[in-house]
């Protein structure tokens, strides 16, 4: 262990004790907390605590993933139990301050669960339906610590991995450890991370880039953003370790413009890491140096594609480059680069700290560790869950997510983002596993699970997905630029009951050549939604084609491929416009 880290850890322990020496109120103010009004809750809490003359720390933290319960307030008094309160609007703050914060007695009737201790009349948090199967690695600190306070991160085991790597291991050892752990990329392609790093490590160039991708434009996916806003140090530490393993000199965190909380938090975390000597020259007093910065891009789904991302970092229009040359040879600014998903890197510190064997012990044989799934759509408990691979989809959706809110039957689960597929309800027993899912034609992708109940029209849902994919095509390669438009046009006419004989074959024909001919994954996978819908719900399509008449169109905002499409949407009231793609944040009924 380095001397610098010993010192840092001592400081962190002290800080952790200090925090627990007085009342500590933690309020989740991530994207979801914000959406539910957590900012006002924080302001009210600070005001009331100050005016009550109490000495309590009020921290803004990340999210537990229990979106349905946001704003979530977490109160612990010295020596008292730690209790989570759900749906605490600013109007409830005074009461909580008057009770739990002042007296140390939990206000049980408002509480959701207790943490790390038993409170009569309250479930333990891990016994909540949504927490049931969870094993938290990437989200290990989410909700527990102030994301931008380095000492809190260190107090919970942070930077032990980097310290271990720098003091006891060579870069090659680290690389081997990651390989042995069987870590696979969480961005969608599920490629072996160790192997990928190996490509970069093998390039002797002096300047190499480790890029961290938080474009995350998938509707219904919000796990990268959550990691960034709940625990940015885990990414920074992971990226630094990756830099050490591959010999990279620079790290760039790439975030979509508009993800405000993640951007602010990762920026201040990077500043804090620099201040503590954990980034920059001679990290922890060793010979290893590594720099990190944040790069933003305008809204573009394709910017998440690794080569388009590099174009965007260089300030160009984000359109994919052809490969080869692969990024490990010629990447951003022409320098060798490696692109990793945020979540992937967040696993790395724990893998180094606890060893590859520990990690392979979790999950399935081919898919080690855990997966973060984002539940949205027609579901009771919307939010974020981190489960080990091997859990079934039904367990996630029905047990953890609590099924549909109004008891309707689940019709399907849309997985893997808008280029992913659909799992019909009878296929939900599928085990969560990269390869199993891919085999079933429903890739796990970035982890978005959108649940649709029996009232959903698959045809309309498919059209909506295609509309998204069409709008988000960058327009560079011909098959994708033109093919997506025609797929959408056909889907639109099927929806309006004007489907023609041969339309399904036409889509398959275009889709097949898009898959074969497109430049990047967007066009290659662009036909996926239709393909998987046809596979599982072919009958519904055929029925719709046979004079079923027009169905309700869920509108979609974006440039139109066809005049007909624009007309269709003009006819639809704009109040419906947000569509089915906004994470379904529905407060539970107040007790």
């Amino acid at each position: 262990m380095t001397y610098a880290f010993q010192h840092l850890q001592r400081e962190a322990t002290q800080r952790w004790q200090d925090l627990h020496a007085q009342t500590w109120v933690r309020i989740g103010t991530g994207l979801m907390g914000d959406a539910a009004g957590a900012r006002e809750t924080v302001a009210a809490m600070r005001y009331d605590v100050r005016h009550a003359g109490l000495s309590a720390t009020v921290s803004e933290v990340g999210t537990w993933g229990l979106c349905y319960a946001e704003p979530l307030v977490d109160i612990v008094t010295p020596g008292g139990p730690r209790v989570l309160y759900a749906n605490v609007g600013s109007d409830r703050v005074s009461e909580l301050v008057a009770t739990h914060v002042t007296t140390g007695q939990p206000k049980v009737e408002w509480a959701l669960a207790s943490v790390e201790s038993d409170v009569p009349g309250l479930p333990r948090v891990e016994n909540l339906p949504m927490m049931r199967y969870q094993v938290r690695i990437a989200l290990r600190n989410a909700g527990h610590i102030d994301p931008v306070e380095l000492l809190q991160y260190v107090a919970r085991g942070g930077y032990e991995g980097l310290d271990k790597a720098l003091s006891d291991m060579t870069g090659q050892d680290v690389l081997q450890e990651v390989k042995d752990a069987g870590l696979r990329g969480r961005g969608g392609a599920a490629f072996s991370t160790g192997t990928k790093w190996g490509f970069l490590a093998g390039n002797p160039a002096p300047q190499k880039y480790m890029l961290c991708n938080c474009e995350e434009g998938d509707p219904g996916a919000f796990n990268d953003k959550t990691v960034l806003e709940s625990d940015p140090f885990s990414l920074i530490e992971g990226c630094t370790i990756a830099g050490y393993a591959t010999g990279a000199s620079n790290g760039v965190v790439f975030v979509r413009h508009g993800h405000d909380a993640p951007i602010q938090r990762v920026r201040s975390a990077i500043r804090a890491a620099y201040a503590a000597g954990l980034l920059g020259a001679n990290i922890l007093g060793t010979d290893f140096s590594f720099d990190m910065e944040v790069s933003l891009v305008g809204e573009s789904y394709v910017a998440g594609e690794e080569t388009a991302l590099m174009e965007a970092i260089e300030g160009k229009r984000s359109m994919p480059r052809f490969r080869p040359p692969f990024p490990a040879a010629v990447g951003v600014w022409g320098k060798p680069s490696n692109i990793n998903n945020i979540k992937t890197l967040a696993y790395v510190p724990e893998i180094i700290r606890q060893g590859a064997e520990w990690f392979t012990g979790i999950g399935t044989e081919k898919s080690a560790g855990t997966a973060i799934a984002c539940l949205s759509g027609h579901i009771t408990y919307a939010g974020l869950v981190e489960v080990p691979f091997g859990v079934t989809m039904r367990q996630i959706v029905e047990e953890m997510g609590g099924g549909t809110p109004d008891g309707k039957a689940i019709k399907l689960v849309q997985t893997g983002g808008p280029l992913g597929g659909m799992l019909p309800s009878d296929a939900l027993d599928i085990v969560l596993d990269f390869d199993e899912m891919a085999k079933a034609g429903a890739m796990f992708g970035s982890g978005g699970l959108i649940v649709a109940d029996e009232t959903t029209s698959v045809v309309d849902l498919t059209r909506n997905l295609i509309a998204f994919d069409q709008m988000e095509s960058c327009g560079k390669c011909f098959p994708c630029r033109l093919g997506m438009g025609h797929l959408l046009e056909v889907m639109e006419r099927i929806c309006t009951g004007e489907g023609r004989p041969g339309d399904l074959e036409l889509m398959e024909h275009v889709g097949k050549d898009m898959r074969a001919g497109s430049l990047c994954g967007h066009g290659q996978l662009g036909f996926n939604p239709v393909a998987s819908a046809l596979k599982a719900f072919g009958d519904e399509f055929r029925a719709q084609m046979k004079g079923h008449g027009p169905i309700r169109i869920t509108p979609f905002v974006g440039p139109r491929s066809s005049r007909r499409g624009a007309q269709l949407e003009e006819e639809t009231p704009t109040s419906q416009v947000k569509g089915d793609f906004v994470a379904h944040i529905q407060p539970v009924a107040r007790p």
Binding site: C477, G502, H509, A516, G517, P559
Partner: protein
């Protein structure tokens, strides 16, 4: 990196090199793979996916334009699913591209002009497309014989055709978004005027920031038109004409020596100029002058059709025989110093050689010059220090330079293509650019460092830089010893160029001078490009000497990327000097007062030569005014007399006894003439030009104007000479004249017209039946020219001079530098010097392009930038409305006074837009509009209240 490898394409063994992409390797081996977005002049892009193939052992269908090749690779270009993917892509393309005729079953029965009565919208027909039968998409669709009954719905984009910009018509209904134009603008030209707009199915090509081309920074080089595969981008003139014949020749607009393919239609008109892709000097590029400035050749109405002879004050038609007889008879009485001859810088080497031979042997006068030769000092310094008055390297070597110093040169407008290697390298980050200019030229936008000296003080600045290099020990001692030997005199002469004096003289901060010197001396191979536009005639020789010494002192000679490039305006100015069409030199740079040389030439020409050095162009006109020069023979090209550098001509011409003008058009010049002889344009004759990189290139006869009896000037001169009884003008065919010249000029000894044609480089191409970009189709048999010195018929040309020693190594006396302070004569009436500039994008100025008919007019508020002190002195205030009037009275501007602390005392700045020029040329009724490009001159002006 480039290994020789073997691959197999469609069963055919192909030997190729590993640096090629597959589509190129196949094409070179004669195997065609269809493509639409790929263009051999640009980096692969991988968008159209038409070139997909199958490679054994590689999953899927990779695109062959982005696929690196490996030894032993086995490729199938025509197997499924690759062909199927191509078919689908064509279906998809035609679903948004008008294709009524293309998919019509009767198309083979249709003639190109047939009016079709079927139910296809006019906008959907190929026959209403300007690129009909020249369209790569049409050719590719035909080539791909798969059935064309696409089930996809067709949607016409219904966009307005953009016809309001000069030169271009843009019809984005036809665009297939291959982005070739965008990439050409960005990658090849460095201008980024075009960009992709929107995304997904709506993606299209637009201008940067959605403004007009003028505002977006377009230089109207036409590179985007040249690469467009469909009719989306076309030249607005002769838009609908199809060529029946093409011929290559060399552009006559500037000395870069761009090789162009000229298309000729069935009416015998030259309709388009397409820069040659594989030409050594331009590499597929041209500029607005070369691309669009040739239409005067077709101007039948204004061309001189027959010789004209002045009888009783009126020019009357005459026969050639009569005219020649009159000229010969009158010339016979003006032999000696009372005769002068001015020959256009656009004349061929052969004409120049004949002209000076005529003047010297027949007329016994050394008064022979080119009207563009008004600043010989630009080369004299190089001549004195290095030996040859010519650029030391090649144009595209500039791309290899780690640093380029541009001194008072408006390169992008006057020698446009020369700026490309600089712009490309700067944008690639491999080059630092230092610009020394009082004016704002386009390259200042690309400059790492822009030094803005007081107009006319460039020499002091160059000397200052040299002194810094000397004082700081940044010299390349080895090179100095190798090239110069003793340098004590030079070192001593630098004493006057101290930083303090230079800084005071030029107004440039000393730190900037030091910075520039250090960058230039230490960056790596460095080149100097200079025209010395702002430097007074007296100081030019010393300034060019300073430039030569800068190059030698830093070891920047004799290797690619290191050298000096003097810039002159005329296409064949280099040839003019080489051929001895200069009052001071016989062919091959022998001074006329060199007795030995004169003997040799007298022997060769069988005639006595005049002893006294002649008068240059300016001096000839002075002599005419004074009555000493009585007869003048002006050959070609009135345009050269229009830029004002020769002053007001009319009184000089009026004082002459006898004026003969041989020109293409009747002009203000011929109004004074006693005899006018109709001349052929450069596209109607054979011969050679020598470009600024010393490259001798062949001109070919592209067409013959039908309505005129015009004759090439070499023929005219020879006829007059023969009629005057002179021998040695009988065999005046260009081939023979060049052979005669080559026998007398050692540097040309190995060059012959036939050799220039024979040594054309032929690029292997798949069958001509295959659809290909126009530039590729035209790029077979490209003349590479020969760069002199080329001493023997088996010797290659010499791209880089002075590999080991200087050409005048034996000459140990080289003049050092001398301090020439600028005399600032206070002109009370015109107290300011106007240093205007040409930059397009000016965020602080809002501008509006008013479009009316074929004219674009830019409306915006002009700002006169002056220093606060000057403003006080002349009673001007910030924000005041004012008028600026130039001394020559040629132009006046209205604008607002703005105070700027960085302005030099006595200098006013004003930014002219590049577009202003495009407006003028497009609006001009003149038969030769391109020559009226206004120069960026430093002129005295006055600013007055309005």
């Amino acid at each position: 990196m480039t290994d020789e490898i073997n691959i197999t394409i469609d069963g055919q063994k192909v030997r190729t090199t590993s640096d090629k992409v597959l589509v190129q390797a196949a094409s070179d081996a004669g195997i065609y793979i269809p493509y639409l977005c790929y263009h051999p002049g640009m980096k692969p892009y991988g968008a159209c996916r038409m070139c997909v193939v199958e490679v054994e052992g590689v999953p899927g269908t990779p695109a062959s334009c982005t696929l690196p090749i490996r030894d032993g690779m086995v490729v199938h270009t025509n197997a499924n699913p690759a062909t199927e993917v191509r078919g689908t892509i064509l279906d998809l393309l035609l679903s948004e591209h008008p294709h009524g005729c293309l998919t019509c079953h009767r198309v083979d029965l249709c003639g190109p002009q047939d009016i079709c009565l079927r139910h296809v919208d006019v906008t959907d027909r190929c026959v209403t497309c300007p690129k009909n039968e020249r369209c790569e998409l049409k050719d590719t669709t035909r080539f791909h014989t798969q059935g064309l009954n696409s089930p996809l719905n067709y949607q016409y984009r219904e966009l307005q055709v953009e016809t309001k910009d000069p030169f271009y018509d843009r019809d984005y209904n036809l665009c297939i978004v291959c982005a070739r134009c965008v990439r050409a603008c960005d990658e090849l030209r460095g201008d980024v005027a075009l960009t992709l707009t929107e995304r997904a199915g709506q993606v299209l090509v637009g201008t940067s920031m959605g403004e007009s081309l003028l505002e977006a920074g377009c230089e109207f080089c036409g590179a985007c038109i040249d690469v467009c595969p469909v009719g989306a981008l076309v030249e607005s003139d002769f838009k609908w004409e199809t060529p029946v014949r093409v011929e290559k020749s060399v552009c006559q607009e500037c000395p870069v020596g761009c090789e162009m393919t000229y298309e000729v239609d069935k009416r015998g008109r030259v309709i388009r100029a397409i820069p040659e892709l594989n030409a050594p000097a331009n590499r597929g590029q041209a500029c607005f002058k070369g691309k669009f400035g040739f239409k005067q050749v077709n101007n039948d109405t204004q061309r001189t059709k027959t010789p004209l002879v002045r009888r009783e004050q009126v020019l009357e038609d005459a026969s050639w025989d009569d005219a020649i007889a009159i000229v010969a008879e009158r010339f016979a009485s003006y032999k000696g110093a009372q005769f002068g001859m001015l020959v256009s810088p656009r004349a061929t080497n052969e004409e120049m050689y004949l002209a000076q031979k005529f003047a010297r042997t027949v007329m016994n006068s050394n008064n022979i010059d080119s009207p563009s030769n008004t600043r010989p000092g630009v080369l004299d310094g190089l001549h004195q220090v290095l030996g040859y008055p010519a650029a030391t390297g090649s144009v595209w070597d500039l791309k290899e330079a780690a640093c380029v110093l541009v001194v008072s040169a408006n390169v992008t407008e006057e020698q446009n293509v020369l700026a490309l290697p600089i712009k490309q390298a700067v944008r690639a980050g491999t080059q630092q650019l230092i610009v020394i200019d009082s004016r704002e030229v386009e390259l200042t936008r690309f400059a790492t460092l822009w030094l803005r000296p007081y107009p006319g003080t460039d020499l002091a600045l160059l000397g200052g830089m040299l002194k810094v290099i000397w004082d700081e020990g940044l010299l390349d001692e080895a090179a100095l010893g190798q090239y110069l030997g003793d340098t004590t005199a030079l070192a001593a002469s630098l004493v006057s160029f101290t930083l303090d004096t230079v800084s005071a003289e030029t107004g440039v901060h000393r730190d900037q001078i030091v910075d520039a010197a250090r960058r230039f001396a230490t960056a790596g191979p460095a080149s100097i490009v200079y025209a010395l536009d702002n430097v007074s005639t007296e100081a030019q020789t010393v300034a060019s000497r300073a430039i030569a010494y800068l190059a030698v002192a830093t070891g920047n000679l004799g290797k690619p990327g290191a050298g000096v490039y003097p810039l002159r305006p005329g296409a064949n100015d280099q040839g003019a000097w080489d051929m001895g069409m200069e009052p001071r030199y016989l062919p091959g740079y022998h001074p006329v007062d060199d007795l030995d040389a004169r003997r040799r030439f007298e022997e060769a020409w069988g005639s006595e030569l005049p002893v006294l050095p002649g008068l240059n162009a300016k001096a000839m006109l002075e002599a005419a005014r004074a009555g000493a020069l009585k007869a003048l023979f002006v050959v070609g090209d009135h345009a050269a007399y229009h830029d004002g550098t020769l002053g007001d001509l009319s009184d000089a011409l009026e004082s002459l006894d006898f004026l003969v003008v041989s020109d293409v058009f009747l002009s203000p010049l011929s109004e004074h003439a006693d005899v006018v002889l109709p001349a052929s344009t450069w596209l109607e004759k054979r011969g050679t030009y020598t470009s600024l990189e010393r490259r001798v290139q062949p001109l070919k006869q592209v067409f013959q104007a039908g309505s005129t009896t015009a004759s090439p000037d070499y023929h005219t001169i020879a006829r007059i000479a023969s009629h005057m009884g002179a021998a040695g003008f009988d065999n005046h065919a260009p081939e023979a004249v060049l052979a005669e010249a080559a026998g007398l000029i050692p540097a040309y000894a190995g060059i012959s017209y036939q050799r220039l044609l024979d040594e054309a480089v032929s690029t292997p191409r798949p069958s001509t039946d295959n659809p290909m970009p126009t530039q590729v189709m035209y790029s077979e048999q490209v003349s590479m020219g020969l760069q002199w010195p080329c001493p023997a018929s088996d010797a290659p040309g010499m791209p880089t001079l002075y590999g080991e020693r200087l050409a005048n190594a034996a000459n140990t006396v080289r003049p050092p530098l001398e301090w020439m302070g600028l005399e600032r004569d206070e002109d009370a009436e015109f107290p300011f010097l106007l240093a205007h500039g040409r930059v397009l994008a000016q965020p602080t100025h809002s501008l509006e392009v008013a479009k009316g008919g074929r004219l674009n007019r830019i409306e915006r508020e002009e700002c006169f930038l002056i220093s606060p002190g000057d403003a006080q002195r002349h009673g001007l205030e910030e924000g005041q409305a004012a008028r600026m009037v130039d001394k020559a009275g040629r132009k006046a501007w209205l604008g607002t006074v703005r105070l700027w602390e960085n302005a030099h005392i006595g200098v006013a700045n004003l930014t002219t837009l590049f577009g202003e020029l495009a407006v003028q040329v497009d609006g001009s009724e003149h038969p030769d509009p391109m020559n009226h490009v206004p120069r960026l001159e430093v002129v005295p002006v006055r600013i007055e209240h309005v």
